[in-house]
């Protein structure tokens, strides 16, 4: 299983004059879970948005399943079998929860499959079944996050881009979410590109990881090996010298900067 599902080559994106990512190259292989770590404003969200065509890159190219999707219409890209769980939920506030889910399956033609997936989504998040007829805009923050993830599952895509799926979820649900992510990956063979602040969880769930700083990829490795790195431990896992750091008020500079 080494065929590459998604490949970014030297991608550069900008908001007006501000460059958000510079020369990012990364690869996602079939059946893998790949994670991108990085602090605030590193450009993680920008990478995902560039992939799904929400932002047009200035330079570089993006290939999905061997086809070039650089700067294509987002709807077209999604129809190729790629689904994106955006930062900030982005539910359809005035549609019912059920209609939101149906919209998730917009690109699908198989009614039975959709109905089956609807059931499995309801099984993952029973609260959604309970609120099926409520306007999605009235759900609590976490409930909306569940809905956003479910919507992506409903699309039955080859590749899911997850932007901070655990944002605003309770500790219990956070764990459950990662379980679901891993399960979807194993059971359906869905490839996943994951952006997450909860590095501990992300590194545990994923196969491969990239570290992004100031719009550049500064590190890339398997997750096992990444977990062992000192900087990762200190800045992303927060496990190292708790005592020293606990009293220190000044940010220690990361070594790779």
């Amino acid at each position: 299983m080494t065929d590459v599902v998604l490949q970014l080559l030297n991608v550069e994106s900008a908001y007006g004059p501000i460059k958000a990512i510079r020369g990012v190259s990364l690869k996602v292989r079939q059946g893998e879970i790949v994670t991108v770590l990085g602090s605030n404003g590193a450009g993680k969200t920008t990478i995902l948005k560039t992939i799904s065509g929400i932002i047009d890159p200035r330079k570089g190219s993006i290939e999905f399943q061997g086809k070039d999707i650089t700067a294509k219409d987002p709807a077209h890209i999604v129809q190729q079998g790629l689904s994106h769980v955006p930062e900030g939920r982005e539910v359809f506030p005035l549609l019912s929860v059920k209609d939101n889910l149906l919209m998730g399956a917009y690109t699908r033609k198989d009614r039975d499959g959709v109905a089956r997936d609807m059931e499995s989504v309801y099984a993952y998040f029973p609260i959604l079944r309970e609120r099926a007829m409520q306007d999605a805009g009235l759900l609590s923050g976490g409930q909306q996050q569940m809905l956003a993830i479910s919507r992506a599952i409903m699309a039955a895509p080859h590749l899911i881009l997850l932007d901070e799926p655990s944002l605003g979820l309770s500790p219990k649900l956070t764990k459950e979410i990662f379980e679901i992510v891993v399960r979807i990956n194993r059971e359906r063979g869905t490839t996943i590109l994951l952006v997450e602040q909860n590095a501990n969880m992300a590194l545990n769930a994923s196969d491969h990881g990239y570290v992004l700083e100031n719009g550049r990829i500064v590190m890339e490795d398997t997750c096992e090996r990444l977990r062992e790195k000192e900087d990762i431990k200190e800045f992303y896992l927060g496990v190292k010298d708790d005592g020293v750091r606990g009293e220190r008020r000044w940010k220690k500079k990361k070594t790779w900067r």
């Binding site: 799904s52 999604v78 982005e90 539910v91 359809f92 005035l94 549609l95 919209m103 917009y106």
Partner: protein, 291 residues
């Protein structure tokens, strides 16, 4: 009897407002923009049917059909050329665009030599026919409007409520970004919506033509349909009809019983009262951002 007759003409007039308001609501529900061009699209549709009948000598039904189809195509084209390039910009820009489109439509028609500046009649087959129910007089032209309004409203309502397409249209109006994420072809749907709106406008224009005649400024009646849409609640199709009826009936009675001048301002007074009592109209959802 007097009251019944007034009620009847109020209802007939109200259906006209409702019919135009349907167009507003259609566009609003599907794109969340308010189209100031709806009245002028209506005018174009009426001119289209007029051209078909008197310039090319087509029979009414054929001309009507052609006008609707042509207007639908025109709507799609319009979307493609002027609206799509700024799709995603604040809705207000699109509202401004529709004002521009209205100016252009009116200007273009007025410029057609020998036709544009004149008033014309559309020789519909049911012209000037009346039914008498006892002392009540029912105008066939108005009856046609009432029936067509009911049918259109039903169809559009069903589309938005039950069809995947209709729901997707609403989805793209509520959150375009998310609609793209779902793979909804937002642009194509948008084209469809404008095509549909133009077709509805054409139907309205042709139904209206026997009553108001065909002329470059007939679109201004749209200004009365705004209050109708607001009274009903801007996002609601049945609301548009009910709002139209309220306005029509109020107008009719105000014209008969109140001093001069009230007939024309009554709709606007009703709107202001409505907004004070029920800011979202009769059928509008109570909307509030959850934080």
């Amino acid at each position: 009897m007097q009251i019944l007759q007034l009620l009847l003409s109020g209802i007939a007039q109200g259906c006209i407002y409702g019919l135009i308001a349907l167009g507003f609501v259609l566009i609003y529900k599907a794109t969340e923009t308010v189209s100031f061009a709806q009245g002028d699209l209506m005018m174009l549709g009426a001119f289209g049917a007029f051209a078909g009948m008197s310039l090319f000598g087509l029979p009414f039904w054929l001309a009507a059909l052609l006008a609707v189809v042509a207007m639908a195509a025109f709507g799609v084209l319009l979307e493609l050329v002027v609206i799509r390039p700024i799709l995603g910009q604040p809705q207000f820009s699109i509202v401004m665009l529709t004002i521009g489109i209205a100016y252009v439509a009116r200007g273009l028609i007025t410029m057609v030599p020998g036709i544009g500046t004149d008033t014309h009649t559309l020789p519909v087959p049911y012209k000037d026919q009346i039914w008498k129910l006892g002392e009540l007089v029912v105008n066939l032209e108005q009856l046609a409007i009432i029936i067509a309004t009911a049918i259109l409203c039903g169809l559009l309502f069903a589309m938005f409520r039950y069809s995947k397409l209709g729901i997707a249209m609403q989805a793209s109006s509520q959150n375009q970004l998310a609609a793209y994420y779902m793979g909804i072809p937002v642009k194509r749907l948008n084209g469809l919506v404008w095509g549909l709106a133009a077709a509805v406008a054409a139907i309205a224009g042709m139904l209206l033509a026997p009553i108001t005649f065909v002329h470059a400024n007939m679109g201004f009646i749209g200004l009365k349909a705004f209050p109708a849409a607001v009274v009903g609640g801007f996002g609601s199709l049945p609301g548009a009809i009910v709002g139209g009826l309220v306005i029509g009936i109020v107008e009719s009675f105000a014209g008969f019983y109140l001093p001069d001048g009230f007939k024309d301002t009554a709709p606007y007074i009703v709107v202001l009262l409505m907004l004070m009592i029920k800011p979202n109209g009769l059928f509008g959802e109570k909307l509030r951002k959850k934080v």
